[in-house]
Symmetry: C2
Subunit: 254 residues, 2 copies
DNA sequence: ACAAAAGTGTTGAGCGTACACCCATGG
DNA sequence: CCATGGGTGTACGCTCAACACTTTTGT
């Protein structure tokens, strides 16, 4: 860190890949750009770094401005920094990207929307290099489900094991065995802790409610590896409930 | 990413946590600062971002300037970005940190040195927030040994399985069973591939030489988890050869 | 009574650990 | 010949995938 003779200075911004699960799809918060460059394309929430504000505080501010909510409960972590010389055609900009995971919120409105991540990626209609940011964020989330309790951040403070399983199924894109998942989750120290309450789900036996445990990292991890060798249909959501009218049950496991 | 009315601009720098294994110790490249701030402390190699240069190119430049060598062979990956308002007392600076892993090079000279990472961390005599950068870099390296082939980046292109095991032992700080390690490494697809050559090591049966395989990520991973429950002596290096004169053999496994 | 969802039991395959043992070389 | 390090064989224990089965509700 040598102080150069000159004083080259750059714009520094923060962009947030905010993920949630909405209608059984992994979805990301974007807003349609009203101004050039990339007018009409979708952009991730972001804002410029300002004097005396921490990077993480800046990311939380970007998220708060776009969701219109207090986001102190959102789980947030740094993703990576993107600084290719011409990634912003106006001016050289170094952007620190953050991954945020949060439970479903009200629709944000005002040109902003939760859009399915896979569709948005496939459409190629993201501004700047936000397609890469989103892809990196999704991959990070997928990986972290294996060895951290980040899945609980997609849910309200109290949740059922089935709801937690639903997060894994949607983010990983394949179904999991309910029984084995239940055992694995409840027996991994610090992953979830029982509240003693139950939830009426409608049909079926009422499920116990849990909250996130103290342990951030899971040992041993859950593994998606063994499933990846199987074909995964990325084009359609993992339907967690049979389509109305169509009576075909979904196969379990292989 | 909204263009603010003002034009706040920041110094952007790149710092490199360059790791190697020297004398059975995980070591990091540092240079003694000749100028304030932090005169006399140890600093990581770094340089300022300049117009039209990629972040990764900047990191490689910093490494090259400090090692005096072509470092195209070094494995390099982004670590994290540090931007606390007063991390540099002179001017607000956002620093993108990179992790580099490379084989032992000649001593760099000129106030630069390879220093054992653990001692340097314990001494607290690093400049700026470089202690945190170093701690994060070491933890990243430790974690990546589990599920990537990054250990091969510490070695020359051709190496023995025992040398590879030595990297794991030094970085993780405990000994591994030689037989099981050999089996695990040679049977994990894409980790290493045989060259057909052998190396005369002096004593003992000559070891086969391998080179790094094509696969970046290991499935299934090696695991340090099972060892973490055991006590680990962080204060002294894992001696891979018995001390001269002291005839005590090191126990294997538990 | 039946369907559906929650949760438990059971079993077989695979993997990791521990450690015995053989191989190939230097002294 | 022995010592040393390279490399293989083997057995035990644990975990996980698969799936049968029981529990508890709504209709």
């Amino acid at each position: 860190m040598v102080l150069s003779g000159g004083d080259a200075a750059f714009r520094v911004s923060v962009d947030v890949v905010a993920l949630t699960v909405l209608d059984d799809r992994l979805s990301v918060l974007v807003s349609r750009r009203a101004e050039p460059p990339y007018r009409g394309r979708w952009g991730l929430p972001g804002c410029d770094l300002v004097h005396d504000e921490d990077l993480e505080a800046t990311a939380r501010r970007a998220l708060r401005e776009r969701t219109g909510r207090a986001t102190s409960s959102a789980r947030i972590e740094q993703l990576a920094t993107y600084g290719a010389p011409r990634r912003d055609p106006r001016r050289r900009t170094v952007s620190v990207a953050w991954l945020a995971v949060l439970p479903v919120l009200a629709e944000p409105g005002g040109g902003r929307a939760w859009k399915p991540a896979d569709r948005l990626l496939a459409s190629g209609r993201l501004a700047f290099d936000h397609g890469r940011l989103l892809a990196d964020g999704v991959e990070r989330a997928r990986a972290k489900l294996e060895y951290s309790n980040i899945a609980t951040a997609f849910l309200e403070p109290e949740f059922t094991i089935a709801a937690l399983r639903g997060i894994y199924e949607v983010v990983w894109g394949h179904r999991l065995d309910a029984g084995n998942f239940h055992r694995k989750v409840t027996r991994t120290d610090g992953f979830v802790e029982p509240t003693g309450r139950r939830r009426q789900t409608g049909r079926g036996r009422p499920a116990e409610l849990f909250r996130a445990g103290a342990e951030e990292s899971l040992h041993p991890p859950l593994t998606r590896r063994s499933f990846e060798q199987r074909s995964v249909d990325l084009g359609s959501p993992v339907r967690r409930h049979p389509a109305r009218g169509a009576g075909h049950g979904l196969v379990r496991g292989a």
